[in-house]
């Protein structure tokens, strides 16, 4: 971030900037929710339920909304997904529940707005106390490492089953990427913290902040002091471009900028490049490009070495970028970052690429220079190996960098489980992380109690 400090601050007022980061999809009004809920056909064997990674009983909660039972609807959602509130805001529903909705068929081609209804129920719930009861205390203690969606979901489910949980979190705040990574216009205001506070109100969960595994905290200690350990470390490293040393030093990881953006109380403090280049083709690339635009960057160019059809960002996300006025350049691969005489970023040189007959990407001798004051890289997150640097942690079996687990979320070390982005299962989505945490908790509970009964 220091490399951007020479850039000007936004000319817009703090209030004006804040207003540009309000909800991407505003909440439904009660009347809209009523009308939308009536559209649900209450399918049997509903495809949306299957398409939701956490298996929320969508027809059931929508029917509860339709019949004016918001607390019932909220409970149905939270039963399956304790972070149903943030999932309703961040899930790429166009590839999940809403894609499966039967109302997509020709006659209407318009799915029920499941996520907005989900948000309506969670935002409208009025429980007098936490809606989940804890089972009688088991006396078992479980260590969870990481207070992101996976860790929190696991902790809540364990607490519900009567176990006591201690979460070790490296940062000063809980929430993981909900707090530090999701686009500011998707999770607005202080929602991530409010949701965590609600989750913790079940009781039995203690969070210790500033405690990082691999930096002072050892896996062996956790295994010794707790009955089970759940690792929910996420992906803390940003992949870097394979370029020369100075280019490497001049690029900014999109996630770093977003972290600062999400944490600033006053957006006028942020350095804002008048023009920016974003390298990448996934949702993070779209997020940084759109947020730069909203901060006031005039020219934001997203550059991808392949074609639009190869981008991992969903068409819905691509449309958000187009609507924000982001320029898209395809078939160009980074060569080096161009600096001005003060050593600040002035632009970037790309090599034109094309698809060879065999489908492989090949470079041409044509180059392309794009002027820009900042280059953001969003080419993926990677597992931060430092977390597993102590003696025992080093022995954990891994798959392409991430922690290997079986389908009960067990790692190669007895008593150690893992889930969320740090394991190699499914897609890196908040809702998947929630599901991992929930299932891992069930597996831990089953194992602990099965053994307890046998004893």
């Amino acid at each position: 971030m220091n490399k951007l400090n020479h850039l000007p601050r936004s000319a817009a007022s703090a209030a004006e900037l804040a207003s540009r980061f309000t909800d991407l999809h505003p909440a439904l009004t009660p009347r809209q929710a009523e009308i939308e809920s009536e559209r649900c056909l209450y399918c049997y064997d509903a495809p949306c339920v299957e398409a939701c990674p956490t298996g929320i009983d969508v027809p059931k909660f929508i029917r509860q909304i339709a019949y004016d039972n918001l607390n019932g609807a909220a409970k149905t959602i939270l039963d399956a997904n304790i972070l149903g509130g943030s999932c309703a805001r961040v899930c790429p529903t166009e590839i999940l529940c809403e894609r499966a909705c039967v109302r997509n068929y020709d006659q209407e081609a318009e799915p029920v707005k499941i996520a907005l209804l989900q948000r309506h129920a969670i935002d409208g719930m009025t429980f007098r106390r936490h809606p989940f009861e804890r089972a009688p205390m088991t006396g078992k203690r479980i260590a969870v490492v990481g207070a992101g969606p996976a860790g929190l979901s696991c902790a809540h489910r364990l607490a519900m089953h009567g176990h006591d949980v201690v979460i070790f979190e490296a940062q000063a705040k809980p929430g993981g990427l909900n707090e530090y990574g999701i686009a500011r216009y998707k999770l607005t205001d202080n929602y991530a913290q409010e949701e965590v506070a609600f989750l913790l109100s079940i009781g039995g969960i203690e969070i210790r902040y500033g405690q990082a595994l691999g930096r002072g905290l050892e896996l062996a200690t956790l295994r010794r002091e707790f009955d089970r350990v759940f690792l929910a470390l996420g992906l803390q490293a940003s992949r870097a471009l394979a370029l020369d040393e100075s280019s490497h030093a001049s690029a900014t990881a999109a996630t770093d900028y977003i972290r600062v953006l999400r944490q600033s109380a006053d957006l006028t403090d942020l350095p804002v490049p008048a023009s920016a280049i974003v390298i990448g083709a996934g949702n993070t690339a779209i997020d940084i490009a759109v947020q730069a635009k909203r901060l006031g960057s005039e020219e934001v160019t997203l550059v991808y070495r392949r074609g639009i059809e190869h981008m991992t960002a969903t068409p819905h996300e691509q449309a958000i970028a187009r609507d924000a006025g982001v320029r898209l350049v395809t078939y160009a691969q980074p060569e080096r970052i161009l600096l001005d005489n003060q050593g600040h970023v002035a632009g970037m040189r790309f090599t034109r690429t094309r698809l060879a007959a065999d489908g492989r990407l090949e470079a041409s001798d044509e180059t392309l220079d794009i002027a820009a004051q900042a280059v953001f890289t969003a080419i993926g997150q990677a597992f931060d190996v430092e977390a597993l640097s102590d003696m025992q942690a080093q022995t954990l079996a891994r798959d392409s960098g991430r922690i290997r687990v079986n389908d009960a979320f067990r790692t190669s070390l007895p008593g150690v489980y893992a889930g969320g982005d740090c394991v190699n299962l499914g897609q890196d989505l908040t809702v998947e992380a929630v599901q991992h945490g929930k299932l891992a908790a069930e597996a831990i509970h089953f194992e602990l109690m099965g053994k307890a009964e046998a004893a």
Binding site: E34, I35, L41, C43, Y44, A46, P47, A66, V102, R103
Partner: protein, 444 residues
């Protein structure tokens, strides 16, 4: 008047004439407003005529002093998208003085000579009351009277309305007095709050009535305020049952109209159909079951008088497309096909057919049939993860439930199966221990 011109154009282009002669009462079209708030006073009625209604039945008149109404009067049954399915009211007859109403009626009839203007009446069940009021009614120049013997709330407690309508002898008696003291057509409005609607209709005919109209409202409680533990509408902290009308009552009204239409004892008695009529199609259905005119209340109360434009236009176009030049051409046409259950063809077989191209895989047909009918729709998961629903022809009894719950129109059809077996009704069916005839094919 603009409205007449509009219907004039439609009539000529389609060779359709919507005008009617109902028991001697002439009207440019069969759409009348029922006796209720829309016909409460000259202001509303003149607006209704300007909008194109063929006639009105003036809000029920009674003896002075006029009735007094409470505040908070209506409540509703809502559909899933806040459409009003049914309306409930606890209003009484007119709350304005007799004199004021009569003067207005006289003036309106003079201004709108081509429209049917009928006066609804409710006075105590004594001859003197009718003999006194009918000459005043006659003097207005109105085209006829409708006897309100069917208001289900408030008035019965005063010995009027439904109390009279529920007693066929009184119905006959009142009709006779009216024919005695009034020279123009007498219509008896029937209450549906009775077991067999044919009894009061026969009584009306015996008393000399020229026609019947039905239905008036049905005793009802639509909903409760569960916090306050009181039904709607709430008057202070209390409520009372009201009269139900609107779309939800149409099926009840249609059946009652058909019952009278099919009854040999009342053959040919003109019927003015009322109850839930909201569209030209509803009107056509009442007419097909024997109505000669139709009356509308709730639909107008919810949307205003302008709805008549589409009612007239739609009916005229439909008639034109089906070669019906006049209302009489199809009035009662569906009666012959409306019969008793025992005359239905036991040999007729239809089974559900799902159009797989239209199916959206919601599974509603499957779960409906599986849980509550005949387990005749199979649920398959295909290799690509999609669902497929198929009718098991051998198990389908042709009940129509799947077709009814299917959200896609035209996706499930009930297809007639050729069995090669002749018509055989229950009176002929060998499975009937009480059958009347032994040889199925012989009788019909």
């Amino acid at each position: 008047m603009m409205a007449t011109n509009v219907s004039g154009i439609i009539d000529s282009t389609n060779d359709v004439d919507l005008s009617i002669d109902f028991a001697g009462i002439k009207a440019p079209n069969p759409f009348w407003l029922a006796s209720a708030p829309p016909t409460d006073k000259a202001y509303n009625v003149e607006r209704a005529f300007a909008a194109g209604w063929g006639g009105v039945v003036w809000k029920t008149l009674g003896e002075d002093p006029p009735a007094v109404n409470v505040s908070s009067r209506y409540s509703a049954l809502y559909g899933r998208n806040r459409q009003v399915m049914g309306l409930n009211n606890i209003e009484l007859i007119t709350d304005r003085s007799l004199e004021l109403n009569l003067r207005e009626i006289e003036r309106v009839k003079r201004n709108w000579p081509d429209r049917a203007l009928i006066i609804s009446l409710m006075v105590p069940c004594v001859e003197e009351a009718w003999r006194t009021i009918l000459p005043l009614i006659e003097a207005t120049g109105a085209d006829g009277i409708e006897l309100n013997l069917g208001c289900p709330h408030g008035m019965p407690e005063r010995g009027m309305g439904a109390a009279v309508g529920q007693n066929p002898d009184l119905v006959e008696q009142v009709a006779r007095w009216c024919k005695q003291y009034y020279s123009k057509p007498v219509i008896v409005k029937l209450t549906p709050n009775i077991t067999d609607i044919r009894a009061p209709a026969r009584a009306a005919l015996r008393g000399g009535a020229d026609a019947v109209s039905l239905i008036n409202t049905i005793n009802s409680i639509t909903s409760l305020d569960l916090d306050r533990m009181v039904a709607h509408p709430i008057v202070g902290g209390r409520s009372t049952h009201g009269g139900y009308c609107g779309e939800a009552v149409k099926p009840i009204a249609l059946n009652m109209v058909a019952e009278i239409g099919r009854d040999p004892a009342t053959q040919g008695l003109p019927i003015s159909g009322i109850g839930g009529i909201s569209s030209w199609r509803d009107a056509a259905e009442f007419i097909a079951l024997g109505a000669g005119s139709v009356q509308v209340c709730t639909a107008a109360m919810l949307h205003g008088f302008r709805i008549v434009e589409e009612m007239k236009d739609g009916l005229a176009r439909w008639m034109g497309e089906h070669g019906y030049a006049r209302i009489g051409d199809f009035s009662g046409r569906a009666l012959a096909n409306t019969t008793d259950w025992k005359y239905l063809d036991m040999n007729y077989v239809s089974i559900a057919h799902i159009d797989q191209d239209k199916c959206i895989q919601c599974g509603r047909c499957h779960i409906a049939c599986e849980d509550t009918s005949h387990q005749a729709i199979a649920h398959y998961r295909l290799d690509d993860g999609t669902r497929r629903y198929e009718v098991k022809a051998a198990d389908c009894v042709g009940c129509n439930l799947c077709q009814i719950t299917c959200p896609v129109e035209g996706c499930i059809d009930m297809v007639a199966v050729e069995t090669g077996r002749p018509y055989m009704n229950w009176t002929q069916d060998p499975r009937n221990p009480h059958r009347e005839v032994q040889e199925p094919a012989a009788a019909m």
